[in-house]
């Protein structure tokens, strides 16, 4: 920065939002006294068209090379003012925002003088930082237009088909020899009464025939390197290893049914789980006169606190199937709470009751006891124990996280929740994305889902994944880590191990081992810069010096 620093400060009234509680005139006068400040303007609304134009004009006329706006929150207005600087001919990253509304006028409404003094400090700190800002350029990187889908159940097949139908070459990796996942073992799908395996096989045929889908069965993903747009994947197959590049990855690895070994006398013969019941339906071997189903077996307890969510509907579906198959068979469902959300599920719940299925609530502190020909349960309203006859007990067990989840989470550097299911980037803002760019999730891998929900999520994840694919070029914020002192770097790799995004790697250069930042993968959290003992790494727009100057500007006054 050979040029002399020329800072313009724009102080916003925000109507009366700021001017009603702080002395904005005094703030503007004060700003004029600060080092490097050559121009100050008070605006009624800096974000209005006239305010924006005043910034643009001043950049040209006053030859400003830094702009500070003292107004509201960068969460809503930073992009606008950066854009304004860009239009005015100034690099958008030579802009600093000072929040005198959320941090002053709104929270010190009764303290005009002290609030104004604080606003002066904040402006002084902003100006001090602005003087040290450096221009930055958005990071652009080419996207590899191919996709990888991990898992060949209904979610994975749906996602792969959706991506391939959009024209993206998609590799589908399935661990088992066969496509279809859990659906292959189920009987009918509620509420459509569609045959689960038939449906899964239909989709599998579409996948196999699709010219854009490269199918690898009996295969596992072995290693993944890289970042959005540039993932390099090794998949181990029966014939050896395949190596290919993709731009995005969809995780659709599903879940597994908890085997209730040691619970309620489970033996797979007269005490079975819902999956085994459905297998009997399929094989036509179901026969029983009195069926008792027990819900929440191995779920919502100390070990597994979560509700698997779909087991109530599975029990209701199978109870109806029993009644339709053999109306004289008694069906009793012992439950803690019934999850039958949505119109169709509620209708099925009612239908089951109409068909004579009995629902009996039990207290988890007094769980039912399975005896040779009956189930004993404490009735919460009658206040006494009931003896329910049975010749078949069906246990409703939760879906639990896939056994490979930890391996996959390490391979992809994505997070798991406390139950080892995959964790989305944000519950509302990024429900189908991981926090790491370019990796998406759907279906049971995330949380127990019905086939219908899994399909919706798979379509959504494929849609999310095709956003960067369709753009062809990735543009990312340049507020990222930078190796500012290559000579200082010893290539120790401490930062590489701590980077949550896999955005750092060690390279062998002429000068020896050195760290390399992959800007497009970096999110700018700053863990590396705060860790490096050689102080070789820094974060653009949040350098050590900029932060220190803000501290000094505040405390030295």
């Amino acid at each position: 920065m050979a040029d002399k620093i020329r800072i313009g400060v724009f102080v916003c009234d925000c109507g009366s939002n700021i001017a009603g509680y702080l002395d904005v005139k005094e703030l503007a006068e004060y700003a004029k006294t600060l080092p490097n400040v050559v121009y100050v303007k008070e605006n009624l609304y800096t974000c209005s068209e006239s305010g924006i134009n005043e910034i643009k004009d001043a950049i040209g006329k006053e030859n400003l090379n830094r702009v500070v706006v003292a107004s509201c929150t960068p969460r809503t207005h930073e992009p606008l003012f950066r854009g304004t600087c860009g239009e005015g001919g100034l690099n958008p990253y030579l802009f600093e925002m000072v929040n005198i509304r959320d941090q002053c006028s709104w929270v010190h409404m009764q303290e005009r003088e002290r609030g104004t003094d604080k606003a002066k400090d904040l402006i002084r700190m902003g100006v001090a930082k602005a003087a040290l800002l450096e221009p930055q350029e958005p990071i652009q990187s080419q996207m590899n237009p191919n996709a990888l889908v991990i898992g060949g159940g209904i979610s994975g097949m749906t996602a792969a088909l959706a991506l391939a139908n959009r024209g993206y070459e998609t590799t589908l990796v399935e661990k088992s020899p066969q496509l279809g996942g859990l659906l292959l073992r189920l009987d009918k799908l509620a509420p459509s009464d569609m045959d689960a395996a038939t449906f899964a096989n239909q989709q599998a045929e579409l996948v196999k025939k699709h010219p854009k889908i490269h199918l690898l069965t009996s295969a596992e993903v072995d290693a993944v390197a890289g970042y959005i747009g540039h993932f390099n994947v090794f998949a181990r197959t029966a014939d050896g290893e395949e190596n290919f590049d993709v731009g995005v990855i969809v995780v659709a690895t599903g879940a597994q049914v908890l085997q209730p070994t040691g619970m309620y006398g489970y033996d797979g013969k007269t005490v079975i789980n819902q999956l085994e019941l459905e297998e009997r339906f399929k094989a036509g071997t179901f026969s029983a006169q009195n069926v008792v189903m027990i819900q929440c077996v191995g779920a919502r307890n100390e070990e597994r606190k979560y509700c698997s969510r779909i087991c109530c509907m599975v029990a209701i579906k199978n109870a109806i199937a029993i009644k339709e198959l053999s109306p004289s068979t008694g069906v009793r469902i012992l439950y803690r709470d019934i999850q039958a959300y949505g119109m169709e599920n509620e209708a099925l719940f009612q239908k089951a009751k109409e068909l004579g299925v009995l629902f009996i609530k039990y207290d988890p502190n007094h769980p039912p006891r399975v005896e040779s020909d009956k189930v004993m349960v404490q009735h919460h309203l009658l206040g006494r124990e009931l003896a329910l006859p049975q010749d078949l007990v069906v246990l409703s067990t939760p879906l639990i996280a896939g056994e490979d989840n930890e391996t996959i989470s390490k391979l992809l550097r994505v997070t798991l929740d406390e139950n080892k299911f995959f964790l989305e980037g944000h519950v509302k803002l990024k429900p189908l994305d991981f926090a790491t760019d370019g990796i998406y999730l759907c279906g049971n891998a995330h949380y127990p889902a019905t086939a219908r929900e899994a399909i919706s999520q798979a379509l959504g994840a494929a849609s999310r994944a095709s956003i960067p694919l369709s753009k062809g070029v990735m543009t990312a914020e340049p507020i990222v880590s930078t190796l500012v002192d290559e000579d200082a770097c010893r290539g120790c790799g401490l930062c590489v191990a701590l980077c949550p995004y896999g955005a750092l790697e060690i390279q062998h250069t002429e000068k020896g081992r050195k760290v390399k930042v992959i800007p497009v993968a970096c999110k700018g959290c700053g863990v590396c810069a705060a860790t490096c003992y050689q102080h070789a790494l820094s974060i653009n727009s949040y350098t050590d010096q900029q932060v220190t100057e803000q501290i000094k500007a505040f405390l030295r006054g």
Partner: protein, 238 residues
């Protein structure tokens, strides 16, 4: 929703950016308290930055505590961007606590300006390899274990760090004293308020590493100085 006017906010992308030296900087410049506010654990916007911050703020707190600062002047809190009320209660509580303590130097183990001198030494140590390396390995050692698969509890890690903090601060203080003039162990011990055998141990360790050399003998006491070849380096680093 109102809170004290005595708080100034410095925006960082993630608490993971908080360098332990930044906390020292704030107290060097005269701040009476520093609160680091980040995401709730398990809900970090940057995946795991807040866990790193927890360790780094913890280290800075211990080092500054050892330097004489009242550790209550540093707080690490969690608050999501949707929890305005919680933010206000964190700030209000902290502000109250700081006001009860009074300005920097008043409720601390050392008064000003001695405290500032010691904080400057703590800052040097916080910027250096040894402490930063152990802190960088903290989460690895407590979760997946070291190279031999040995896992350590937080308590064990902090106990180790406490010892290293003590050694590092003493070492850098000795160097800082020697830079003023060659010194004898007993004088250094008096100035550092440490037992002479401890100081001798540090001085001999520095001598073995070639950082300190013998400057002469005064009476019965050898005088030590910062070795020529490392003088420039040390001066640069400090």
């Amino acid at each position: 929703m109102q809170y004290s006017t005595d708080i100034r906010i410095i925006r960082l992308m993630c608490t993971g950016r908080v360098d332990p030296t930044m906390l020292a900087d704030a107290f060097l410049e005269g701040a009476d308290g520093v609160v680091v506010v980040g995401c709730h654990f398990g809900d970090c916007h940057y995946i795991s930055g807040n866990y790193q911050a927890k360790v780094k703020v913890g280290l800075a707190t211990r080092a500054l505590d050892y330097a004489g600062l009242n550790p209550e002047r540093i707080s690490f809190s969690q608050c999501s961007s949707a929890e305005g009320d919680r933010f206000v209660s964190i700030i209000t509580g902290f502000d109250q606590k700081i006001k009860e303590m009074g300005p920097l130097g008043s409720a601390d183990r050392l008064p000003l300006p001695k405290l500032t001198e010691k904080i400057a030494i703590a800052k040097t140590a916080l910027g250096k390899e040894k402490l930063r390396w152990v802190v960088g390995k903290f989460t690895e050692f407590t979760t997946t274990g070291n190279k031999y698969g040995e896992k350590f509890t937080d308590h064990e890690m902090w106990r180790t760090l406490d010892t290293i903090v003590m050694d590092e601060l003493a070492t850098f203080e000795i160097l800082s004293e020697m830079q003023k003039a060659p010194a004898a162990v007993k004088d250094l011990a008096a100035r550092l308020e440490l037992p002479p055998p401890h100081v001798l141990k540090y001085v001999l360790a520095l001598q073995r590493r070639g950082i300190v050399s013998l400057a002469g003998i005064e009476g019965n006491s050898p005088l030590y100085q910062v070795a020529e070849k490392s003088a420039q380096q040390t001066a640069h680093a400090a």
